[in-house]
């Protein structure tokens, strides 16, 4: 069985080179599931941007006369205790999730990658100090750590994003550091040093660009993790303040009416799951397309 496969592999090896981008897009778009993920993410972005146009009602209009309505033509997903339209709150909640994903991952990636770059490139004591600190942060269970930091900073959307960012940071530092350690031994880095290039130039001109593929994959998947963590914090009640429509806190609010209005906590959960699924699938696709050797590592 593997005989035929091997010949096929050899054949593609000697086949004329296709452009990098072509090869990337061929692999990336070849799996249906990746396209599904892409559509979900695009959908999330569109919904977040056009929330005011898409939402049938305002997300925070309180109408006690319409409290806890069951799903109907008027309110597709019913209303909550305060008579707010669930669908509208869900649509506006996409903004929070998307923002938390982007900003928390941005914080985690920028600080984590810088630390990993420094630790991997300079080695020695710098490496020991930075990486042991990262190990220590990673030793504290993520939700516990994010909870403690968010409580320390005082809750609220901004602080939740910072807390989630710090909790995710060590993973980037580790990945980056490992990448740098393997890349800095390459000939082109040695050559750069031989012609007298400064550390900064070698780091940002040569090492960083070559480290990126696995980090891009990591960033995509971490968007999902960040959104999940934010939802968990909101669920526990430390995240976003009540008037905002965060998916996690919508689940908590709905939990109390599970018996009569299950849709209140079901709907936001489905939204979270779909969005995280989208990021995970696109991450899988990126990994296979950028560097198949990463399969099993990320």
């Amino acid at each position: 069985m593997s005989e035929a496969k091997d010949i096929a592999v050899e054949f593609t090896d000697i086949a004329p080179r296709v452009s990098e981008f072509r090869r990337f897009s061929n692999v990336f778009f070849s799996r249906k599931i990746v396209i599904v993920g892409l559509v979900i993410i695009l959908g999330l972005i569109i919904v977040a941007i056009f929330a005011p146009l898409l939402a049938p009602y305002k997300p925070d209009t309180i109408n006690m006369e319409q409290s806890l309505l069951q799903p109907s033509g008027e309110h597709l997903l019913g209303t909550d205790t305060l008579g707010r339209d669930t669908l509208s709150r869900l649509i506006y909640g996409s903004r929070i999730s998307l923002m938390v994903g982007i900003i928390a991952v941005g914080i985690a990636a920028s600080i984590g990658m810088t630390l990993g770059l420094i630790a991997g490139y300079f080695g020695g004591m710098t490496f020991v100090v930075i990486m042991r600190l990262m190990d220590a942060i990673m030793a504290i269970p993520m939700i516990a750590l994010a909870l403690v930091i968010a409580a320390f900073l005082g809750g609220g959307l901004k602080n939740v994003m910072i807390a989630v960012g710090i909790a995710l940071m060590p993973m980037y530092a580790r990945l980056m550091c490992g990448q740098v350690l393997s890349i800095r031994e390459n000939d082109y880095v040695v050559a750069g040093r031989a012609i007298g290039a400064k550390s900064v130039r070698i780091l940002f001109g040569h090492i960083l660009p070559n480290c990126l593929p696995p980090l891009i994959v990591q960033m995509t998947m971490m968007m999902g993790t960040a959104i999940l963590t934010e939802a968990s914090l909101s669920f526990l009640g430390i995240g976003i303040e009540p008037p905002s429509a965060a998916w996690g806190s919508m689940i908590t609010d709905g939990y109390r009416y599970l018996l009569t209005n299950p849709v209140l906590s079901f709907a936001p959960g489905v939204a979270i799951m779909l969005v995280v699924y989208g990021f995970n699938m696109v991450g899988d696709g990126l990994r296979d397309a950028l560097d198949p050797r990463l399969r099993g590592m990320l």
Partner: protein
């Protein structure tokens, strides 16, 4: 192997010390005076400055931060975790009551997720492209995406409220009533395991697929060995190395998850104690729990590193 283990042990100890310093610093930077909380709770109004000072001395808050840290660590080593302001009980006692619950839940989820995850991934890889592979893989893709606390709510709704098969809340010690305890734990263990099962099966599938392509596996086939021998002796031993790393990482996820799952299912474990202590600003409890969880995660990683060295001798000499 001896020096390898010793080196890992020392590194683990250093990490535990850094964890404790980190937590201590975060806690001391928290806004608010721990004393205010104590005074409010015990309704000790109109304390004179002298009485305040006496309380400060009693709780050791008059000393410098390094000294406070030192006495906290020294106390922990002697099993004295300090005094909980909100419960008015020794922290050690609070944790001791809840720790076995979290550990029991965690160990069950760990066993379930390791066995089911590896098995699912192995079957998928060996029957690649089949219907079973397609089903398991897509379920696993959802498994790594679903919020576990929400899954808990679904389980409570479906099996607890709608079907009435499982109790919706609570925890009973298995020594008290084994049957009830098991029924109560099915939901939480399931919810806690879903993510690691999915993660393990994805990891196992891809690393086994990598291994079955290797030359030595082909050699084993051409020697005429049975599939059973090849899978167990040649494929699994090498294919499981990345999975072991992942299982080590998942110990952290399990404790993370238990914070949420214990809250959803109303289980009196350390996770729920952590959440309620954070809201009660009972920092003595919070810092002790964080350090204990940190130590457990470090120990798990240590075990992984050591077994890694055993599975893959290249690591020991690397």
């Amino acid at each position: 192997m001896g020096t390898y283990i010793l080196r890992r042990l020392i590194e683990a100890l250093i990490v535990v010390i850094i964890v404790s310093v980190l937590i201590f610093v975060i806690m001391r930077l928290l806004p608010g005076d721990p004393l205010t909380l104590y005074i409010n709770r015990n309704q000790l109004d109109n304390l004179s400055p002298e009485q305040m000072q006496a309380l400060r001395v009693q709780f050791g808050l008059d000393k410098s931060l390094p000294v406070q840290y030192g006495s906290w660590m020294l106390g922990m080593l002697h099993g004295d975790f300090g005094h909980s302001i909100s419960y008015d009980l020794p922290v050690g006692q609070l944790i001791l009551e809840r720790f076995p619950v979290t550990l029991y839940l965690g160990i069950l989820a760990f066993i379930v997720s390791s066995i089911l995850g590896i098995l699912a991934g192995l079957i998928c890889a060996l029957r690649r492209g089949g219907t079973l592979d397609a089903i398991v893989t897509s379920v696993a893709n959802f498994g790594i995406s679903v919020p576990n606390f929400w899954l808990g709510i679904l389980v409570i709704y479906l099996f607890g409220l709608a079907l009435g098969w499982l109790p919706t809340q609570g925890f009973t010690s298995p020594f008290e009533d084994f049957w009830l305890s098991t029924k109560q734990l099915i939901g939480p263990v399931f919810c806690l395991s879903v993510f690691p099962i999915a993660g393990n099966s994805r990891q196992t599938r891809s690393s086994i697929l990598e291994i079955v392509r290797q030359d030595y596996v082909r050699t084993a086939w051409s020697k005429g060995l049975s599939e059973r021998t090849i899978v167990i002796k040649h494929v699994l031993k090498n294919g499981l190395i990345p999975v072991i790393t992942l299982i080590g990482i998942q110990v952290r996820f399990l404790f993370s998850g238990s914070v949420l799952i214990e809250t959803v299912f109303n289980i009196p474990g350390m996770g729920r104690l952590l959440v309620s202590s954070i809201f009660a600003q009972d920092y003595q409890v919070v810092q002790s729990i964080c350090v204990i969880l940190g130590i457990l995660v470090v120990l798990a990683n240590l075990a992984v590193d050591i077994s890694y060295g055993w599975f893959d001798p290249r690591v020991r000499y690397g």
